[in-house]
């Protein structure tokens, strides 16, 4: 065993100590951010090819459109990430997204005050949907996959009830602002994502309850034994998933300026959100990964479609490429199984 006499560990106040500790730390920081970095690199490469091939090039319009499409999935993927970290799953994110879209198209109209109240109502609805999911999983002890499959039907029913036929509308000024770009060409959707990461995700990750989510996903039993608030942490992940899905529904309403109870749309966003989470380096077994990776994962998935468009390829290639990207991402994730010594561990 590598047992050595206790040595003073670098990391004191001296500059040299700081530098030494930085040098010994970076491999650990890098390995924890690896999934997100790979997704970011993949997105950067694909997006570079896309804008260089696009007839309009790196124009404000091209960037804005790509950002809006990507942000929509990125928000749903962030929602999905949080329960997945606890080794749960939320199959209702897509339907909460559709439900809040329908709600927004009826409430977010009229003057500024009216619209603001509408926004608040939409977000509260998202929270309530998430709270129901969380209650079923934590208090009802149902398996997340079946509990959220059931509630997703309920939420879609709500959407149909609100808007049996596509239509409605929302405050145009608000919609234009949300889908436009700031002076300097930065899309508002990107600013929204950045704000959510800085003031939502990072504080959550650094909080006791956020760390508890990681702990639960890593080993629920060990987390309980360590006095971690297991039930509260799990409940909150579903509530946050509802909130982020509602934000996505809000953005969708701003893009389409109408509401539609579209089952196909909800289903495809749910599945794509799981794909984005995996591409972004979050393990479906829980405990490792994060929402930042999922954002890049979502942008990777969206850019695939754009690439096929600029290369004039048949849209029927899109599912195939999507599948290949997913398989490669998942394959990288299971490389660790090659190191397993006890074959029975493969099944645990």
């Amino acid at each position: 065993m590598i047992d050595v006499l206790p040595q003073p560990r670098p990391g004191g106040r001296s500059l040299r100590g700081r530098l030494a500790s930085l040098r010994s730390d970076w491999p650990h920081h890098l390995s924890s951010a690896r999934g997100a970095l790979i997704a970011f690199g993949l997105f950067l490469a694909m997006f570079t090819v896309f804008v260089s091939e696009h007839p309009a090039g790196f124009s404000r319009n091209v960037v804005n459109t790509a950002a809006n499409k990507g942000a929509l999935l990125a928000l749903v993927a962030m929602a999905q990430t949080i329960p997945v970290l606890t080794s749960g799953l939320d199959l209702s994110v897509g339907m909460v997204f559709v439900l809040t879209n329908c709600l927004a198209s009826t409430l977010m109209v009229g003057n500024a005050l009216h619209t603001a109240l509408g926004v608040a109502a939409v977000l509260v609805t998202g929270l309530a949907c998430g709270a129901l999911n969380g209650a079923l999983v934590v208090l009802g002890r149902l398996q997340p996959i079946i509990a959220t499959l059931a509630t997703s039907s309920i939420y879609f029913g709500g959407a149909l009830w609100l808007r049996p036929a596509p239509g409605g509308g929302i405050n145009e000024e608000f919609a234009d602002f949300m889908t436009g770009s700031l002076p300097g060409g930065i899309p508002v959707a990107v600013v929204l994502l950045l704000g959510l990461v800085l003031f939502g995700w990072i504080p959550y990750r650094r909080s006791v309850i956020g760390r508890a989510a990681y702990a639960v996903g890593s080993s629920e039993q060990a987390a309980y034994m360590s006095g971690v608030p297991v039930a509260r942490a799990k409940f909150l992940t579903y509530v946050l998933a509802g909130l982020f899905s509602a934000l996505a529904g809000l953005l969708l309403s701003c893009l389409t300026e109408s509401g539609e109870a579209n089952a196909m749309l909800g289903g495809s966003y749910t599945l794509s959100s799981i794909a984005a989470v995996v591409v972004g380096g979050t393990s479906l077994f829980g405990g490792a990964g994060g929402a930042v990776g999922s954002i890049f994962g979502a942008f990777v998935l969206r850019t695939i479609g754009d690439l096929l468009f600029v290369f004039n390829m048949d849209p029927l290639w899109q599912p195939l490429f999507l599948g290949v990207v997913l398989l490669v991402a998942v394959g990288l994730g299971s490389l660790r199984l090659l190191r397993v010594k006890n074959r029975l561990d493969l099944f645990r």
């Binding site: 560990r9 924890s32 393990s283 397993v340 029975l344």
Partner: protein, 508 residues
Amino acid sequence: MAPLFRMEGVTKRYGGVRALEDAHLACGQGRIHAVLGENGAGKSTLIKVMAGVVRPDAGRMELAGAPIALDGPGSAARAGIVSVFQELSLLPDLTVADNICITDPPRRLWKLIDRRAQRRLAEEALQRVGAGDVHPLAQVRDLPLSRRQMVEIAKALARKPRILILDEATSALSSADVEAVFRVLKQLREEGLAIVYISHRMHEIDELADDCTVFRNGRHVATFTAGSRSPQEIIELMIGREVESVFPPRERRALGEQPALAVRGLSWAGRLKNVDVTIRPGEVVGLGGLDGQGQRSLLLALFGALKGVTGSVEVDGRPISLSSPRGGAAAGVALIPEDRKTEGLMLPMTVRDNLSFAALGRLGRFGFIDRKAEEGAIAEMIGLLRIRSDGIDGPVGALSGGNQQKVVIGKWLMTRPRVILLNDPTRGIDVGTKQEIYQLLRKLGEAGNAILFYSTDYAELIGCCDRVLILYDGAVTGVLEGEAINERNIVTSAHNLALEASAGGGPA
């Protein structure tokens, strides 16, 4: 001085099984209290009660004179009772520093975790237990077992306990690490902590303990000052029960000449060390020793469930491949697994399907199942094992534990194995079924099978086996035969006492 912690009349039952009965324990400040007992004596339940993991059916606990009720590990931690468990309670995906501070991380602005302070705490705790070589930002998953155990101890210390419980906390450590941990424990004793120490290693208890308490069959047997009794006397206290005569009489019988199973130089991942086993046809060989000394790994390795096993295994003189359980089964090796619910049975499927799964190759023709042959073989098994079930087409999950275990055994007997490996087959089974299983073992032996039998119950080894191999730290350290198979010998060699006396220290 009044003890810091006291429990009285604590009782805990699981179903009909008594895990603890009227247990009492008192721990004083600044003292190390060793708790001793055989496997299954109730030590683990005892400390789980103290740690708030298990809620007792009856009894009361006092901390510093005031009664306390624990409703979870969190409330025990807040009361200052911290335990280092045998099954590690670390979170593999989190960093070492995150793990050490998981219960109550340092916080600052907006209650967010102060990562710099957390890291400093982690470094101090690691330094203190002599694990300064562990990087606080490393993922626990990437650390070797001995380092994880050190992190576990550091984690316990970082919680500033008043009462520290260590359950087999040194089992995976090198002797240098053990020394470092002992230094810390002695220092903590000076600082006035109450320490509860559970270990199977006698010499560790000699070195550390101030008081000793012996448990047996869930009951408190004796409490005495360390050093007032000899190791032999302590072992008497630990055993001290009559062996019930539930075993079929032993008969002299002729064993085959050619070994049915010959294992040479079997090693695996540092947990099995150069194991040799030879079993002749008709022989029942037992595996003894303390829990977790490599017995389970040996059976799994022979069955082909482990990867990277070195050494040779021959069945009837023919070398067999250890690359998968299918290969093992084809060569005539059957394993009755330890956990019937996950490794032995498909609970929702019928008794019929479960019985014939492993033997489908023998019962089939051109890939189709020969229903007639299957019917016959199943009827034979049900008769042989006296499986009671309401028809063989009901789900196996509806049977009693004993009958489920018979189905597991029957499933493997249907493959007509040559070598039968049994992994603690009677755990959690009623006495009647146990007796039937002992008789079955005898019958299988008479039929000329080679049987390797691991049991945590020493009485079973004595009652059933022709020969007993004692494992310690992954190696065969003792062989008992004939009259020499008695409880005293098994317990003595299981604690590796003779060996320790000559080596003068713990295993490296």
